[in-house]
Every structure is written in C-alpha cells, then in structure tokens.
C-alpha cells in the first residue's frame, strides 16, 4: 500500500466511511493559528424530488475526480483567508443516513471559514465528475440535475 502524504490525505475520494473526529483532528493539528473551523457534512437522505429513496450509489471518474477536488482545495487556500482545507467524497454504495461528503476549513476567524466552506461544496457540485444513482420504488434513477 502506498504511503499517503499528509497533503494527500486532505483530498480523497474513497469507498469506505470516514471518521469526522479523525478528519477534524487532521485539520486542527495543521496549524496552531487556527481559531475557527467550519464543516459541511453531506449525508444520504431517503427522499428526493418527491420520491422515496432506499439507497444510492456514487460513481466517479477515477483520476479526474481527485484532480478536481485538489484544485478546489488549492483555490480555496488561495482565494480565502484560511489556513487549511479538507475535501472528501465517498463513492460506491451508500445507505440512508451514511456520510457522503465532508468539507472542513480551518481559519484564524469564522467568517472566512464559513465562506470558504460554502464555496468548496458549491464548487464541488459544479466541477467534480461524480454521479449518483438513487434506488427508488419506481426503479433506479441517475440523478441528472443537482442544485
């Protein structure tokens, strides 16, 4: 198994679940200047566009998805007054209530942490090649639009 660099651990696309505590600690220990941490956690819900959803599967474009998440982290570090950023997304089958995506931003102060966190999840949805199939009583549906 390849040894992951600490920087590599801050941008991941992985099948297995992640520990929010561990990831939070990863950001917290990156700098003693951090005074505010903002987090967005996306989880799997059982309703979508008026339909029941029993579970879902995420597909990603291996290589390009990682590249785009890395770009998002680098642009966030460049464009906002923040100290560290972590961007994780899961792929494969995910059950209702499970974690899907995690953004954690460490900054000196809250304002930029919040701003960068929102920007990262919005940008992730726009530019990252990841697709979702939802399993519903009416059949399997590829989610096409996702505001």
């Amino acid at each position: 198994m390849a040894v992951e660099t600490e920087e590599g651990m801050l941008v991941r696309v992985q099948q297995e679940n992640f520990s929010i505590d561990q990831e939070l600690e990863r950001i917290r220990t990156r700098s003693t200047l951090i005074g505010g941490i903002a987090m967005f956690l996306g989880t799997a819900r059982d309703r979508s566009k008026g339909h029941d959803v029993s579970s879902m599967t995420f597909e990603h474009y291996e290589g390009m998805a990682q590249k785009k998440l890395k770009e998002i982290r680098e642009r966030a570090l460049q464009d906002f007054d923040i100290l560290e950023a972590l961007v994780l997304h899961r792929y494969g089958p995910i059950q209702i209530g499970e974690n899907i995506v995690l953004i954690i931003i460490g900054a000196e102060h809250r304002a930029d942490a919040f701003k960068a966190c929102q920007w990262c999840i919005d940008e992730l949805k726009k530019i990252t090649p990841i697709w979702k199939m939802e399993y519903t009583p009416e059949g399997d549906v590829w989610v096409e639009e996702h505001p």
Partner: protein, 84 residues
Amino acid sequence: MVHVRLFGMLKTLVAGANSFELSLPEGSQVKDLVDSVQVQYPDLGELLLQKKVVVSVNQEIAHWETALVESDEIALLPPFAGGA
C-alpha cells in the same frame, strides 16, 4: 481509432457499455467526434449538441476545437451530481 469512456446515465444510451471505439481521421477535433457520435448514437449525440453532456480530454473539459490524438483519454460526462 479513439477510445471513449462513458459515465453515469450515458451508459444506458449505449446498451450498458462503459465505453466505445470511434474511428476518426488524423487531425480530428472534438467537434468531429461529436459529429461521429451523432451518427452512431443519435441520443447521445443530441445530448452533446445541447451541451448537456460535455467531453473531457485527458481529464480536462474540452472545447469543440480541442485537437484529438489516438492516445488521448476521452470521456463523455453527463451533468455532475456529487455532494449530498
């Protein structure tokens, strides 16, 4: 001959295939690939024309004038749906 990868719902338009091969003349651009897709897979071609599906070349979003060579990694990408 170029190899074109498919993701998400696009696979359902090509009988469940993950990819297909296309024969393109040397010096072709993405717009030539789109023309060729329209002929072989009209439903897929329509989505490309409507810009609902984008083409990536070597893991970057391509323009219609992007030049193609046989070794390029080409993929057709439907609208993204990451996040939660």
